[in-house]
């Protein structure tokens, strides 16, 4: 970008002014000034912080993570008690965040696709209903929706004594939902391993089938075969493990319900709120993804004599995916970040647990830095994956 400052015939030696007018010199100067300002601001803030912490007798560092937490967490996926240390409390919080986010992502994708497709329906009433759903729930703050569901669940469902039983074994109460679960047994571990093995086998079968089709043109019923391999292997593992049938069924004992798997009202409120809110955005992404594929693609597939279902799978969807995947990931990330609102309804997610930790220990900077870097890590991981995926999916042009 540098421009000659002196005309070729100019014999003047370069003075200070000429140097200052040189774009390269200026660029270096600007950068030095900018970095200097940032370093100075950082130093100023850090020195103030250290001084203030010293005044308040707060020690710095992450040593507090090994101390006993002393507070209970209402739901946990791993062994946790108030005697556990702060580090495991934070792990419990992180796992709860991951749990609600993953479930939310799956559900909001399903609901979003349904409403996104419905908005393009040729049926007038279906189209309008889908539009009303999307416009209503995306224009109401997600926190308000969380508060609403959280207030609704305990008051809409009866006390455990007169629990509703919509399906045998499933209880709906003001303290959440109870579901029967199988009593843990080695057979289930075995089934998990079998499922993983089945996936690996299916991957290789698919590779072989594609190679064969490329070479001979003979298609292979991969969906049916894959289903067969998966179900067969898992079933075999179940039988090999002794086919356990014992279930833990929720039932009223004393004042509360014992047994089964409990889904707390807090979890339900966060899950429903996040799912409904994000599904409206997913619906819009799906709609624009489908609309982005030109009609000529359908016609081209038709003129090649490709069946409509195959055309959808092999021609239309891959192209709309290319448009829809990046904004879809953004929505998944938004859902994960919005799960931090769980703190407002008392679901023990990462931010909620960190907040308690912060209040108990006074280690505000450390706690905030921990949860910020975890969210940042999740976001960066997703971006890296997305970049890789985008590159894989990108149109290879001549």
């Amino acid at each position: 970008m540098s421009k000659p400052q002196n005309a070729p015939g100019d014999v003047r030696s370069k003075g200070l002014v000429d140097y200052l007018n040189d774009e390269n010199v200026r660029a270096v100067l600007y950068q030095i000034i900018a970095i200097g300002l940032i370093v100075f601001a950082g130093w100023y803030l850090v020195s103030n912080t250290l001084y203030n912490l010293e005044q308040q007798n707060i020690s710095t560092g992450y040593g507090f993570l090994d101390l006993e937490a002393g507070f209970g967490i209402s739901e946990s996926m791993i062994q946790y008690s108030p005697q556990s240390d702060y580090a495991s409390a934070l792990v419990v919080g992180l796992l709860n965040t991951v749990k609600v986010s993953l479930l939310g992502i799956v559900l909001c994708t399903i609901i979003g696709i349904i409403f996104g497709v419905a908005r393009l329906s040729s049926n007038w009433i279906v189209r309008k209903l889908a539009t009303v759903y999307v416009e209503t729930f995306r224009n109401i703050p997600v926190l308000l929706q969380l508060f609403f569901w959280y207030a609704l669940i305990p008051s809409a469902f009866p006390h455990p004594r007169d629990a509703l039983e919509p399906l045998p074994g499933v209880l709906l109460t003001s303290r959440g939902m109870y579901m029967p679960v199988p009593v843990s047994d080695n057979a289930y571990t075995l089934m998990g391993i079998a499922a993983v093995i089945a996936c690996v086998v299916i991957y290789f079968v698919k590779k072989w089938a594609k190679k064969r089709q490329d070479a001979t043109g003979q298609p292979f019923p991969i969906v049916l075969a894959g289903l067969g391999i998966f179900v067969g292997l898992v079933l075999a593992a179940y039988l090999a493990g002794g086919a356990p049938t014992e279930m833990s069924i929720p039932a009223l004992k004393g004042f509360n319900i014992q047994g089964g798997y409990n889904i707390s009202p807090e979890f339900l409120a966060v899950l429903i709120g996040l799912t409904v809110y994000t599904s409206t955005y997913v619906a819009e992404v799906v709609r624009s993804g489908i609309q982005a594929v030109p009609n000529g693609q359908w016609e081209a597939a038709d003129s090649l004599g490709i069946k409509r279902s195959v055309a959808l799978r092999k021609v239309i969807l891959p192209q709309s995916m290319r448009v829809a995947i990046p904004p879809l990931t953004n929505q998944y990330l938004n859902l994960t970040k919005n799960s931090s609102l769980a703190v407002a309804v008392g679901y023990p997610d990462l931010v909620s647990v960190s907040n308690t930790t912060m209040n108990q220990t006074g280690q505000a900077i450390e706690a905030i830095s921990i949860f910020m870097s975890i969210y940042l890590g999740l976001s960066l991981l997703t971006s890296l994956f997305m970049n890789w995926f985008n590159k894989k999916m990108a149109l290879v042009e001549r």
Binding site: Y30, N48, N123, I125, N139, I368, Y375, S379, L380
Partner: protein, 367 residues
């Protein structure tokens, strides 16, 4: 297209004929659509009558707990009785005309700024409107001059607070975001790195963590003896957060300006700032108006998060009113429905306007 040919031309025939033709095409086209239509109608019949019965037929506006206990429907009396608390929070009762006026002024400025896109005559007025408007709003809210009593900002609340936090957030984030976007496009590695790191870090974390940082860590950053109050801390947090998102919006606009425009500036020997101001930004900013409005909408919704750090914005005051008397607590559906309706009205109309602008701006491109 052969199916369409069978239909009678739309413009002819009696109204009934046209209605039948329309519904055949749009509602009962094939067995699948017929099932969908009937299912949807059944769903609406199941959903709408109970809601109408609850919200209108059996509802009451009577602003007393006794009046509400008598009816089986909605107790709009809760909203009626607590309207001032919900709208203005704990702002001194006799002075509540001030936040009301401030809110009207602010809404006027926002509408004026948005309208300037459509009516170019308003464009020159945008900056004067904000330069005059913000002090007027501050005087109205704080008082302390012109015979207005001083009101601490810890008493502010309700809808004016939500509007102030979000609009001031976006207005101050605007120049900051623009600088960040230019920094990200810069050829100077240090400045580019700083901008990219800032944008990606802020966009990678949830707003609530930034608000926690603002409310807990900012006091530690300041020298001994200097304090800033909770509201200002939240406002700074919102500005810092919004700036990163606006920066990405602006980047989109800058990237959409053709390369030749930058080169044209260079060939006219304009300096970097001259060519930005005279050539690039006018084109880039025009492109980013709709996404900027969208950022404002999401900021407006996200402002509700300040409830979590203990401020009483519009959602906070609804919760406050629900808790003001244990007897009111069970009327949360009415309270949240009222808040949701207001949020919906504001966000929906802005979103529609933004979509309309997008269409208008694209008209010029299509030629």
């Amino acid at each position: 297209m052969s199916e369409n040919a069978k239909l009678p031309p739309m413009a002819t025939g009696s109204f009934a004929e046209r209605a039948v033709a329309w519904s055949k095409k749009n509602l009962f086209d094939g067995w699948f659509n017929t099932i969908l239509t009937l299912g949807s109608i059944a769903f609406l019949l199941w959903l709408i009558p109970p809601i109408v019965e609850w919200a209108i037929v059996n509802a009451t506006l009577s602003p007393t707990i006794e009046g509400c206990a008598e009816v089986t429907g909605a107790c709009w009396g809760f909203v009626n009785a607590n309207l001032r608390l919900i709208l203005f929070g704990t702002y001194p009762f006799d002075e509540q005309w001030r936040p009301l006026l401030a809110m009207i002024v602010l809404m006027g400025i926002i509408c004026g700024s948005l309208g300037a896109v459509k009516y170019p005559g308003l464009r020159k007025a945008i900056i004067p409107m904000w330069v005059i408007g913000v002090p007027v709003i501050s005087v109205l809210m704080w008082g302390g001059v012109f015979g207005l009593t001083y009101v601490q900002n810890s008493y502010w609340g309700g809808l004016p607070l939500t509007l102030i936090l979000s609009s001031i957030g976006v207005i101050f984030a605007f120049p900051f975001g623009l600088l960040l976007a230019l920094g990200r496009q810069s050829h100077m590695p240090a400045i580019k790195t700083v901008s990219v790191v800032y944008i990606e870090v802020i966009r990678g974390v949830p707003l609530i963590t930034v608000l926690f940082m603002a409310s807990v860590m900012f006091p530690l950053f300041l020298p001994d003896g200097v304090t800033i109050d909770k509201l200002l801390r939240a406002q700074i947090g919102i500005i810092l957060f919004t700036a990163a998102y606006l920066a990405e919006v602006f980047r989109g606009g800058l990237q959409a300006v053709p390369r030749g425009q930058f080169e044209a500036g260079d060939s006219l020997a304009l300096s970097y700032w001259q060519s930005m101001r005279l050539i690039i930004l006018p084109q880039a900013l025009r492109l980013v108006i709709p996404p900027t409005v969208n950022s404002f909408i999401s900021m407006f919704k996200d402002t509700t998060l300040v409830v979590i750090i203990g401020l009483f914005d519009f959602l906070g005051t609804v919760k406050l009113a629900l808790r003001s008397d244990p007897a009111w607590t069970k009327y949360y559906v009415e309270g949240y429905a009222f808040a949701a309706a207001i949020f919906f009205l504001i966000c929906f109309s802005m979103a529609k306007y933004s979509a309309y602008l997008e269409k208008e701006l694209r008209k010029g491109e299509r030629r």
